[in-house]
């Protein structure tokens, strides 16, 4: 029995348990969160793919509660930062303070900020200044922070779930493109349906208290991430992803909608997101390979914040979502 066979044998039960584990997480989250199945699935896919999520929705839709429930379900260290205009970068990543030891000597010691957690809720991230927003850049991409010339690695898994309000733009600072690109998905939190709203009222206006159990830990999450990366992708599926990303660039097709309404197309991170997210979704669907349907299902969440529209698009009322759907309808699936 070779090493590959050993590895396959050890990974066997875990592969079978992926879909079951994720379904248990979903069940626990659904105890506290009513509806929002697409948002929950998107957050779980981002968690297993190792990416961050930007949630966009009006206040009161349960964004913060979703993240808190997810942290309880995953038994992860959870912290929350309420972003305000006067928030400083040191308030996020931490600072160096003078520490007095037992001998009476004094030394500088790094006091970690709320960023040092497994699950970080950056609430209303667009209310803080770009200086503080950019403090998250290194942490989100490199999973480490550098303070005073010293680099401090963050604990794995590290997941940032940021929220922003699409209505109130007064006194906000829209996220720069570089930071938007670091989010794996941008998920829109819809308003609940009638039945869901009734269910929310039943749960939140009565005396019964919801208890959420932890069904997954950080170590298992890291194992799941390894399994996800081993899911095979057929060449024509990968080529379809490449075609999609290239089609978002205006120079790719001069007469297309992309050329008319898009100023800048998606970065290569968009293609990586589609493949990685497709792998997770395939496992959640009980499949061991990525299909074109997986890519299409994640197209909007993965690329809507990675394309920059021009003035014509704003003037004509075109959104990134309908442009992406139009692009996807014209890309050949081989």
């Amino acid at each position: 029995m070779g090493p590959e066979t050993k590895k396959a044998a050890t990974a066997g039960p875990e592969i079978e348990a992926v879909a079951e584990t994720v379904s248990r997480v979903r069940a626990e989250i659904s105890k506290a969160i009513v509806g929002q199945s697409e948002v929950v699935e998107g957050v779980l896919i981002a968690l297993m793919a190792g990416g961050h999520v930007l949630l966009e929705g009006v206040p009161g839709l349960g964004k913060t509660m979703l993240v808190r429930t997810l942290a309880q379900t995953l038994a992860l260290k959870y912290s929350r930062i309420q972003f305000t205009p006067d928030l400083m970068p040191a308030d996020v990543i931490g600072t160096t303070v003078i520490h007095e030891n037992g001998d009476g000597g004094k030394m500088l010691r790094f006091q970690p900020g709320p960023l040092f957690a497994n699950l970080l809720l950056a609430d209303e991230i667009n209310r803080t200044t770009p200086k503080t927003q950019s403090a998250l850049l290194e942490a989100m991409q490199e999973k480490q922070v550098t303070v005073g010339g010293v680099t401090h690695p963050l604990d794995e898994p590290f997941l940032v779930i940021a929220t922003q309000n699409p209505l109130e733009m007064e006194g906000t600072y829209p996220l720069p493109e570089a930071q938007l690109d670091r989010f794996l998905f941008k998920l829109r939190v819809p308003f609940p349906q009638r039945a869901e709203l009734n269910e929310i009222l039943d749960r939140t206006t009565q005396t019964n208290e919801v208890v959420v159990h932890a069904v997954l830990n950080g170590h298992e999450i890291m194992n799941l991430r390894q399994i996800v990366r081993s899911v095979p992708v057929a060449p024509h599926v990968q080529d379809y992803v490449v075609q999609l990303v290239l089609a978002t660039h205006p120079e790719s097709a001069p007469n297309s909608a992309a050329a008319k309404y898009i100023r800048y197309g998606s970065s290569p991170r968009g293609a990586q997101t589609l493949i990685l997210g497709g792998k997770v979704r395939a496992l959640l669907e009980g499949r061991y390979n990525v299909s074109i349907e997986d890519v299409q299902a994640l197209l909007l969440a993965a690329l809507r914040h990675r394309i920059i529209l021009n003035f014509e698009a704003h003037a004509d009322g075109r959104t990134a979502d309908d442009l992406l759907e139009e692009i996807a309808s014209k890309v050949r699936k081989n």
Binding site: G2, E4, K7, A8, A9, A11, G12, I15, E56, P166, L167, M169, P174, L175, E177, L180, I227, S230, V231, P232, V233, A234, P235, H236, V237, E285, R287, Y288, N289, V290, S291, I292, E293, H305, I308, F311, H314, A315, N334
Partner: protein, 470 residues
């Protein structure tokens, strides 16, 4: 990427892909062969339309059809999709989520890991549920109706060929016959055109002649030229017709027949257009002194139109008969006049409706020309020599319904003092108020006087500050 059969190790996958391959190749072969068949059928139609023989085109077509079947079969086999392409088709047709194509692609991996082995097993498990013969049936192409149409046309052409022979040579023969017929007809056509031109010229000549002079000539006894005198055939026909009509109408008046009745089949338009003419006609029956002048006035237009008809006939006859008929022109005109005299006015109108209709039209035009001023007299408007008079002024019934067609403009003193209205114009003339318009001062509040900003840009800025988002 796998492309050969030996790379597949699993018999189920191999069998399924093999079935799909055969079905795809067969369908492709059928499509190509039917395409060639359509071309051959078109060629066969052309051959049957041209050739006398039926056997030769059919034998050649059958041979070509057989050769095309072999060639398209070879082409379809050598252009068959790869195993990976077949797997993709199977995935799409069976909604397998790219399982088979992924399994085929990773089948030849040297050391497959656990998830690849699981993926392969998953693909085979789903493949077992697929019936490739149902998913990929052998079917005729969707454009098979072209072949059926061509076959239908071919059957009809074969039936026609068996009954009448090849159609194209027959069409050629008919075309040659039609050309010969056109060669024969063309002189007649030219002669008819010549007669029409003569008629037009004569009509304009008659319209320009003085009316009183014509009345005087009508009262004179007709003098037939002596027989054998060389005269123009057209003039002879015109005079003969004039004599004929005068004699006929005089005879009708002497027999006590009302003139209006005898002329009613010929001249309904005349009676309707000029009631005074019919009144004079009725009065002529009671007053013999006025009868001659009324008949003369009424028969003038008839004589003119009859002269036109005779002139046309004479011109045609003159074209067909050359110099010999010119020498006997007087005799022919006498014979024509004699023939015309034998017919009364009513019988003439009944037996020759074309001439009657033409006479009617001519008479009505003549009456209109008498009632209304001639357009030629007023077409010189603008030269300033004679003032233009509207048509309505001559017709009292229409005068009340018309409006002024021009207004005199008084151009003197057109430019008045600035800021003052022009008030020194006479009553009934056009008044054009002239006043200088100075730009009005506009009070501008902050942000209010920006109408020149494009609406789309304003909307964009408004949306940006209200609902700005990435």
């Amino acid at each position: 990427m796998l492309s050969t059969k030996s790379d597949l190790r699993d018999s189920a996958l191999d069998d399924t892909i093999g079935v799909v391959r055969r079905r795809v190749v067969t369908n492709r072969w059928i499509g190509l062969w039917l395409l060639c068949t359509n071309g051959l059928l078109a060629l066969l139609l052309v051959a049957l339309a041209l050739l006398e023989s039926l056997r030769t085109p059919f034998i050649a077509g059958a041979v070509l059809l057989f050769v095309a079947a072999i060639a398209t079969g070879i082409t379809a086999w050598y252009t068959r999709p790869s195993v990976y392409g077949l797997a993709q088709r199977l995935d799409r047709a069976s909604d397998l989520g790219d399982r088979v194509s992924t399994a085929v692609h990773f089948w030849s991996a040297p050391q497959p890991n656990e998830i690849i082995l699981r993926q392969r097993g998953d693909a085979l498990a789903h493949l077992a549920k697929v019936q490739p013969r149902e998913v990929f049936p052998v079917h005729l192409p969707s454009k098979m109706w072209r072949t059926w149409t061509l076959l239908g046309v071919l059957a009809a052409l074969v039936a026609y060929h068996a009954a009448f022979g090849p159609p194209i040579p027959q069409l050629k023969q008919k075309a040659a016959q039609s050309r010969a017929l056109a060669t024969l007809v063309s002189p007649l056509t030219r002669a008819l055109e010549f007669a029409r031109a003569e008629k037009k010229e004569l009509t304009s000549l008659i319209a320009g002649t003085d009316r009183e002079k014509e009345a005087t000539e009508a009262e004179k006894p007709l003098e037939l030229p002596p027989t054998g005198q060389p005269t123009d055939a057209a003039q002879m026909n015109a005079k003969a017709s004039t004599f004929d009509m005068a004699q006929a109408m005089q005879a009708a008046g002497e027999n006590g027949m009302p003139q209006s009745k005898s002329s009613s089949p010929l001249q309904p338009g005349q009676q309707a257009a000029s009631p005074s003419s019919s009144q004079s006609s009725d009065a002529s029956a009671n007053e013999p002194g006025q009868e001659a002048s009324a008949q003369n006035q009424q028969s003038m237009a008839q004589r003119a139109m009859q002269a036109i008809q005779n002139l046309m006939n004479g011109a045609l006859a003159g074209q067909q008969q050359a110099n010999s008929q010119q020498q006997n022109g007087a005799q022919q005109s006498t014979e024509a006049a004699t023939g015309m005299q034998s017919m009364s006015g009513a019988a003439q109108a009944a037996n020759s409706p074309n001439q009657g209709a033409q006479g009617q039209t001519s008479n009505s035009q003549g009456s209109q020309n008498q009632a209304l001023p001639s357009p030629g007299k007023h077409t010189g408007a603008g030269n300033g020599t004679s003032p233009w008079q509207p048509h309505a002024s001559s017709d009292p019934q229409l005068a009340g319904n018309t409006t002024k067609e021009h207004v005199e403009l008084q151009t003197t003193g057109f430019r008045g003092a600035p800021g003052k209205d022009r008030s020194d114009v006479g009553a009934g003339t056009a008044q054009v108020p002239m006043q200088n318009v100075a730009p009005q001062t506009v009070t501008t509040v902050n942000g209010a006087g920006q109408d020149s900003v494009p609406p789309r840009y304003r909307q964009y800025v408004q949306d940006y500050f209200q609902h700005g988002e990435k």
